[in-house]
């Protein structure tokens, strides 16, 4: 999860801040204006990072809101006097935010490539609105004759025409924007956004309304871009349709990636770098100066001249090199040199303390369950009871319908016929997140945890899903209950305390599987449905997780599909054998082992001997 910036980064940011604060004292008017532009671009690209880096939505039309913000200043500014910034700024933010809400409600329905395309389309629609029509001067653009002023009554508090005052205002705006987003990302709301970025399907299965979260993120980002747009328009007092175009959107994406998507501070660095590179490449004299360091002055002058004329080609090459060499951008480069703690060896799981009371877990009853896919009957009239506080294994040859069976139980598929009762309540046909809410948690064959989050954060997210009221920004409400749930889940799944704050991607395979189980427990599941939890594990890990499953039966009901016969025979209280969708046998491991029909199912004619 997005951590607070590392000390190195904080130092760099503070140095930049100090430089900025001092700039008006020694910098030229041009430098001040250039720096203001960079700061405003910084706000714009940070807002885009909320979408791209935090929520994982690559928008190719973010400049739409930037441009709308800029044009809004034109609309609200009287022809020959200053607009009141107290009105103009909120107006720009609200306008951009409102449009983002409307557009977002449509575009957020799409993902991936399609999302890129639809956002591009709406950006272009916005562009053509201002380009093709005369709403605001059309292709010529429009002028804001007098810069806005913060005024209360007749008191002028801050005049944007004053370069220095404007510069400091932008600086404060950028710092506040950064701090705001940094805070937002670390709230429960922000956690969900990051979860959606890395594993939207899992978030949805946990019970979060991912559409609402994504839409919220889109609107916030749009509003913030609108804010940046208002400020931008105040720099030169000129707005043009190109501000909304896809070139602007593309360059913004460029800066986000150059700086390091997802870090929030990275894109600001990216904006600084890009602006400097662009400025340098455009200026023949600066290039000449640089080249003179390594070649004769005539060659340098010639090369500098050419490059300055074709600066965007040089820019293109530079960007390609930058993206290929440093895919994680500047931030990735910096962070490489402040790596994470090395992996400690996983420890033996401690069984739950004996003094713990046996909590009554849930029982699951399946009656005549059938699931057909057209002509193919994958699950055929299966009836079985899974009593609570026991470990139940489901085994059977390939194609027996085991995974389909679990899919129906967890709500991923609807039953064609039959009933599923969890503690007496019918759950057949319910959606997965509703089934999860009732207490039935399901894990998957392939590990499905949120890899960039630590084990603790994964569990926190799962615990949060129990009360998924959207847009929770306070860590206080219900925080205590959730913390308890997280601690309990980590302990019950055997994840050692010193491993809990390590990123899931750095955990061993077995620990990741344990984390899967921990997430289910944290989300309140009392009946655990596990699909091949031991797959891909060596003997030591298998032993550990098998012991864990038995320990879990004290508080939960565990139902698992497995192929590892040794492990499941040792761990299970009962075994259910499915063959070609039908229930062949159900009983204790001993009974199953001695069952001739089961033997035949596995060994074919051989078993008949």
């Amino acid at each position: 999860m997005l951590a607070r910036p590392r000390p190195v980064v904080i130092v760099i940011l503070l140095v930049l801040l100090a430089y900025a604060v001092a700039l008006p004292f020694f910098g030229s008017a041009f430098a001040l204006k250039f720096a203001s532009r960079v700061l405003i671009t910084g706000i714009f690209v940070i807002s885009l990072d909320l979408l791209i880096g935090v929520t994982g939505m690559v928008s190719f039309g973010h400049a739409l809101y930037f441009g709308l913000g800029a044009y809004s200043l034109y609309f609200i500014s009287p022809a020959s006097s200053a607009a009141n910034a107290f009105l103009a700024i909120p107006f720009g933010i609200l306008l951009a935010g409102a449009v983002a809400a409307v557009v977002g409600s449509v575009v957020v329905l799409t993902r991936g490539f399609y999302f890129i395309m639809v956002t591009l389309a709406f950006g272009q629609m916005g562009f053509s609105l201002f380009f093709d029509t005369k709403i605001a001067g059309g292709t010529d653009g429009a002028y804001i004759n007098v810069r806005p002023v913060f005024s209360l009554g007749s008191q002028q508090l801050l005049n944007f025409s004053d370069r220095t005052a404007f510069f400091y205002f932008c600086l404060v705006a950028l710092v506040l924007s950064y701090l705001f987003l940094l805070w937002l990302v670390r709230t429960p709301f922000g956690r969900v956004l990051q979860g959606i970025h890395h594993n939207e399907a899992r978030m949805s299965a946990l019970g979060f309304n991912t559409y609402a979260y994504k839409l919220a993120s889109y609107v916030i980002a749009g509003a913030m871009a609108g804010f940046a747009g208002v400020l931008f328009a105040a720099i030169d007092g000129y707005v043009a349709p190109e501000l909304l175009g896809w070139r602007e959107s593309g360059l913004a994406i460029m800066m986000v990636v150059l700086g390091g998507a997802g870090t929030l501070y990275g894109p600001v660095l990216g904006a600084i770098l890009y602006s400097l590179v662009e400025e340098t490449l455009k200026s023949a004299s600066e290039l000449t100066a640089i080249f003179s360091l390594v070649m004769s002055s005539t060659t340098a002058k010639w090369l500098g001249g050419i490059l300055a004329n074709s600066w965007s080609m040089a820019l293109g090459f530079f960007l390609i090199a930058a993206v290929l060499a440093a895919p994680k951008g500047i931030a990735g480069f910096i962070e490489k040199y402040s790596g994470e703690a090395k992996r400690a060896k996983p420890r033996e799981i401690k069984p739950l303390a004996e003094t713990r009371e046996r909590a009554k877990a849930m029982q699951l009853e399946v009656e005549n369950l059938t699931r057909a896919f057209g002509g193919l009957v994958a699950v055929n009239g299966v009836s079985v009871k899974f009593p609570p506080n026991k470990v139940h294994g489901i085994i059977g040859p390939n194609g027996a319908g085991k995974t389909t069976f679990i899919n129906v139980l967890s709500g991923a598929l609807k039953p064609t016929q039959g009933n599923i009762r969890l503690e007496g309540e019918e759950i057949g046909g319910q959606k997965p997140h509703n089934v999860a809410r009732r207490g039935l948690g399901r894990s998957y064959q392939r590990t499905n945890v949120i890899l960039p989050f630590t084990a603790r954060e994964n569990c926190a997210l799962a615990a949060q899903a129990q009360f998924p009221s959207p847009f929770r920004v306070s860590n206080q409400w219900r925080g205590h209950e959730e913390d308890k749930a997280v601690e309990n889940a980590l302990k019950a799944s055997g994840i050692a305390p010193e491993r809990a704050d390590i990123r899931a991607s750095n955990l061993s395979h077995g620990e990741q599987r344990q984390l899967e189980i921990a997430m289910l427990i944290a989300s309140g599941a009392k009946l655990l449905l596990l699909d091949e939890p031991l797959a891909g594990m060596g003997p030591e890990e298998t032993g550990r997780v098998t012991a864990l499953l038995r320990a879990l039966a004290a508080d939960h009901t565990v139902v698992l599909i497995e192929h590892d016969m040794d492990a499941i025979f040792a761990a299970a209280d009962t075994l259910t054998v499915l063959v070609e969708g039908k229930l062949l046998a159900h009983g204790t491991p001993e009974e199953i082992r001695n069952n001739a029909a089961v033997r035949e199912a596995y060994l074919g004619e051989w078993g008949q001997q």
Partner: protein, 236 residues
């Protein structure tokens, strides 16, 4: 004699999941080797690793004496290896004839032991349906198509992954008799199948995989005489 397939100490991972654990596998030219074991034990992963569809994390693979460890699947196919995958992998948007002739070529010696006519005589049903689209075929017919397509590349090594899975008994027998013909025609074969009896009767050698490792490698007679082993790794 140079082995047709020589895999040494193969380790394959899917992310963190360690599926193949130090597997070594050997097939002599023309030999038929069975690959037994319950599901999830790594059989399909092993076949895919040999075919080049999955990169191992370590180990080496040689086909007919040449090292193909870092070679793409297309190179291995041209070196004489054909795979009939689980799920058949036929092209649904090509006709039967187009599927069959898709990669038709002669072997290293310039011979074509399995020309189109021979494949059609092996699978008359395909001949009847030669202009149907791949996705219009039944499961059994798709299986035939997948086998025929592989044969037309004139392979010296063939990997058959559950070629009879999910088929009605009669169809199963039909396909199995083709498998027997293929195995007896001099192609080195690695066969994964559920029917233990038939497989033991056909195979020159048998291997069993459990939890990503080879736990048995021996003749059918040796395996038949070890009931405990059979039950332990293949039964319940």
């Amino acid at each position: 004699m140079t082995p047709a397939v020589l895999a040494e100490n193969i380790n394959t991972h899917y992310g963190r999941s360690h599926i193949l654990r130090g597997v070594s596998f050997r097939v002599a030219p023309g030999e038929t080797v069975s690959l037994l074991g319950r599901n999830g034990m790594g059989k399909t992963t092993l076949l895919r690793t040999l075919a080049g569809l999955v990169r191992p994390s370590s180990g080496s693979i040689q086909l007919n004496g040449s090292d193909v460890t870092s070679s793409r699947a297309s190179v291995r196919s041209r070196a004489g290896l054909a795979i009939v995958p689980e799920g058949r992998g036929i092209f649904p948007n090509l006709t039967v004839a187009e599927n069959l002739t898709f990669a038709s070529r002669a072997n290293a010696k310039g011979e074509r032991p399995w020309p189109l006519e021979r494949v059609y005589s092996l699978f008359p049903r395909l001949s009847e349906r030669k202009h149907h689209w791949g996705n219009e075929l039944s499961g059994g017919e798709q299986q035939m198509l997948s086998i025929g397509r592989a044969l037309m590349t004139s392979p010296s090594i063939i990997l058959l992954d559950e070629a009879t899975e999910g088929l009605a008994p009669k169809l199963r027998d039909e396909i199995w008799s083709t498998v027997k013909q293929i195995a007896e025609s001099g192609i080195a074969a690695i066969i994964v199948d559920k029917n233990l009896n038939d497989l033991l009767a056909l195979a020159d050698r048998n291997t069993i995989m459990a939890k990503g490792e080879i736990v048995f490698d021996g003749t059918s007679a040796a395996l038949r005489s070890d009931e405990a082993l059979i039950h332990r790794h293949l039964g319940v």
